[in-house]
């Protein structure tokens, strides 16, 4: 009898090339996503005179610096951004890295195109120089973000040295109430365990709620896992996963597909396998959530009030809360729904997939009329954009006065110039509300796409009409 193993252990064990005396493992990497912020890594290879070890396992696309008003770097006014985009083209060409260029109909945010193209597969190890690489765990891949030096290391060796992380199981059971989405679930979990709650851990999500989530929703949940400090988020592949991947461009075909699915069915945590920590969440009582502060853990139900620093468990936390309130222009005890909003952003690797846009469009159509706040939608990929246009979603956005843009990271991080002004307040479907994240001195409140759409239409922070007590 072999020891019962977690899904994580199965993935890890299948990729260990060798182990060092101190216990670190050299892991083989099956998939490497590369974006336009990777120039430090290519410079490093150049310095060392090294080629990319296995370009056939890499896929590059511009997203962080991608303009969302055109598909040409030449139209970008800022010469520094233009230089980054040009350098990206030079780097992928020089190192013969497969690329979906800015004008390619398959371009998009790395964490959207990976699953969409079938590049991300169950049972793989996947890395990218971006913390939100945790997203790909939604398909049962062991996926984690790495820094620029490590990107160079993986490019040069197709491997990474890693210390075996601990494991955490987050078991979620019950039905999500109407108007409550994976984003609300993720924000609730982070508010409960804290932004450092899963440091050093790979988190596996399980339970009836998780089984019922679509791949898009699982992507949102695993994407946000990094905001709890985790190394990675992980969901065992199941029929939903196989149905999603079938016929994706880079997914296995014919006989290989059947062999792959047969293997993927073994990728689940054995009964009685040990987790270092287990957390249980009941989905039935969840509500639409919003962040009030400058850390994703500072999240409350939309019907809630900004907390009092007196509720903090330490002086450090109380000070953090005071700073966050000051930065966000809020006072303790204020109902969060009373804040004045300047703008709405729907996009980012957290919530920009077709399903997210469908939900937002449905809310917009349900309320009717025009948006009352400037609203920007940047689809997660050019494929998402094209499909949204084909099924009429884009028309709903455009008719309501929404700015319908091209795909990229856009206002989640503002690196392409899509930014907020100082003191401006944005309701955003992205994943980070850090001070200055969307532009210097700008204020970000994180929500689900449904809440963002309701807010855009009603002109104030509002729960989706389907939610209990909304209106």
């Amino acid at each position: 009898m072999t020891e019962p193993r977690t899904l994580f252990a199965k993935l890890w064990d299948a990729h260990v090339v060798c182990e060092a005396a101190d216990g670190r493992a050299l892991l083989f990497i099956d998939r490497h996503l590369i974006h336009d912020g990777s120039f430090h890594s290519f410079n490093r290879l150049r310095e060392k005179g090294l080629p990319v070890a296995n370009p056939g396992l890499c896929l590059a696309t511009p997203d962080h610096y991608a303009p969302t008003t055109s598909r040409s770097a030449d139209t970008v006014d800022d010469p520094a951004i233009r230089r980054v985009l040009n350098e990206f083209d030079i780097n992928v060409n020089e190192f013969a890295v497969p690329v979906l260029a800015l004008a390619d109909p398959r371009q998009g945010i790395v964490h959207v195109i990976g699953p969409e193209q079938g590049f991300t597969l169950p049972g793989t190890t996947l890395v990218c120089g971006d913390s939100h690489t945790s997203t790909h765990g939604a398909l049962g891949a062991l996926a984690f973000g790495i820094g620029a030096s490590e990107v160079a290391h993986v490019l040069a060796t197709q491997c990474t040295w890693q210390k075996r992380p601990q494991t955490m199981c987050i078991r979620i059971d019950g039905l999500l109430p109407p108007g409550v989405y994976a984003k609300d679930l993720a924000l609730t979990i982070i508010a409960t365990i804290g932004t450092a709650g899963a440091v050093g851990c790979v988190v596996e999500y399980s339970g009836s709620t998780v089984s019922a989530l679509s791949i898009e929703e699982r992507c949102t949940l695993c994407n946000m896992t990094i905001e709890a400090g985790a190394r990675a988020g992980l969901i065992a592949p199941d029929e939903t996963t196989f149905a999603y991947l079938r016929n994706k461009p880079l997914a296995p075909k014919q006989e290989l597909w059947h062999r792959a699915v047969e293997y993927w069915r073994t990728l689940k945590t054995d009964d009685d396998a040990h987790f270092d920590r287990t957390v249980s969440v009941q989905a039935n009582s969840l509500q639409p959530m919003v962040t009030w502060g400058t850390s994703p853990e500072q999240a409350i139900p939309l019907s809630g009030r900004v907390p009092h620093p007196g509720e903090a468990t330490s002086d450090e936390e109380a000070n953090g809360m005071l700073h966050a309130m000051q930065y966000m222009g809020l006072v303790a005890g204020q109902p969060i729904a009373t804040v004045d909003i300047d703008q709405v952003f729907i996009g980012s690797c957290a919530n920009s997939r077709l399903e997210d846009l469908r939900v937002a469009a449905e809310v917009i159509q349900g309320i009717g009329g025009k948006v009352k706040l400037p609203t920007l939608v940047s689809p997660g990929s050019t494929q998402v954009k094209l499909k949204a246009e084909a099924e009429g979603i884009a028309d709903i956005f455009i008719a309501a006065g929404v700015q319908w843009h091209e795909s990229g990271c856009s206002m989640c991080v503002g690196m392409n110039g899509d930014r907020m002004g100082p003191g401006k307040r944005c309701i955003s479907t992205s994943n980070r509300n850090f001070a200055g994240r969307q532009g210097r001195d700008s204020r970000t409140h994180l929500v689900s796409p449904a809440t963002a759409a309701a807010t855009a239409m009603l002109g104030h922070l509002a729960a989706p009409p389907a939610a209990k007590g909304a209106g």
Binding site: A80, V84, G145, G147
Partner: protein, 211 residues
């Protein structure tokens, strides 16, 4: 090859806040800059400088002693958020060689050792004991080989991964070290792809015609 780290004797600057994220350490808009231009001016940029670019006087890194400080003391979960290595570049280029905090994010800690920056995790109580009296300008001594931090005659030990320690002490190049495993990696890849043949997708550059 990073600059080796052995011992350090320096003043420290302290940022009491916890959960300092890498967007604070270096705002994203500066990350387009080539490293050769230096990232020191970007360190905590929006906390250090006002909208007109004037230094904010009460921010600790603008203190008269700050340029001589090579140690930063911070709150728990330092470097959370984005995995941007630019956060480490900014600290290093400003002159910081060691960050002492109760805890760090995984990504930040991993990025440190590759760039000659020592992350020292000290439990809050230990850190308080170390800092509890004396004057701000008291020098702190960090000895990586012995894994100790000393100030005013008080000493605290810290734990660090053997590999991170070795990397910092020698400034060794991890890529060169891994490439010594070249044949093992090649053998692994062959067996791995034989077992899971759908993994070897052999994408071609450019991809326009290949899938």
């Amino acid at each position: 090859m990073a600059e080796p780290f052995t011992t350090l004797r320096s003043r420290a600057v302290r940022l009491a806040a916890g959960n300092i994220d890498t967007d604070q350490i270096v705002p994203a808009r500066f990350m387009r800059t080539p490293r050769s231009e230096g990232y020191g001016n970007f360190l905590f940029h929006d906390l250090r400088f006002d909208a007109e670019g004037k230094p904010i006087v009460d921010f600790p890194l603008n203190g008269a002693d700050a340029p001589d400080a090579h140690i930063l003391i911070a709150g728990k979960n330092f470097g959370c958020g984005s995995s941007r290595e630019a956060a480490v570049y900014a600290l290093f280029d400003f002159g910081i060689r060691c960050v002492i905090a109760p805890s760090f994010s995984d990504n930040f800690k991993a990025n440190c050792a590759k760039n000659g920056l020592l992350p020292v995790s000290l439990p809050e109580a230990e850190l308080d004991r170390l800092l509890e009296d004396g004057v701000v300008s008291d020098l702190i001594e960090v000895d990586l080989r012995r894994q100790t931090v000393k100030r005013n005659g008080r000493e605290a030990g810290f734990v660090i991964d053997a590999f991170a320690k070795e990397s910092l002490l020698t400034g060794l190049d991890e890529i060169d070290m891994t490439l010594r495993h070249h044949s093992e990696i090649a053998r692994f890849q062959e067996q791995h792809f034989a077992r899971y043949p759908w993994l070897d997708i052999k994408l071609q550059a450019p991809t326009n015609s290949s899938f």
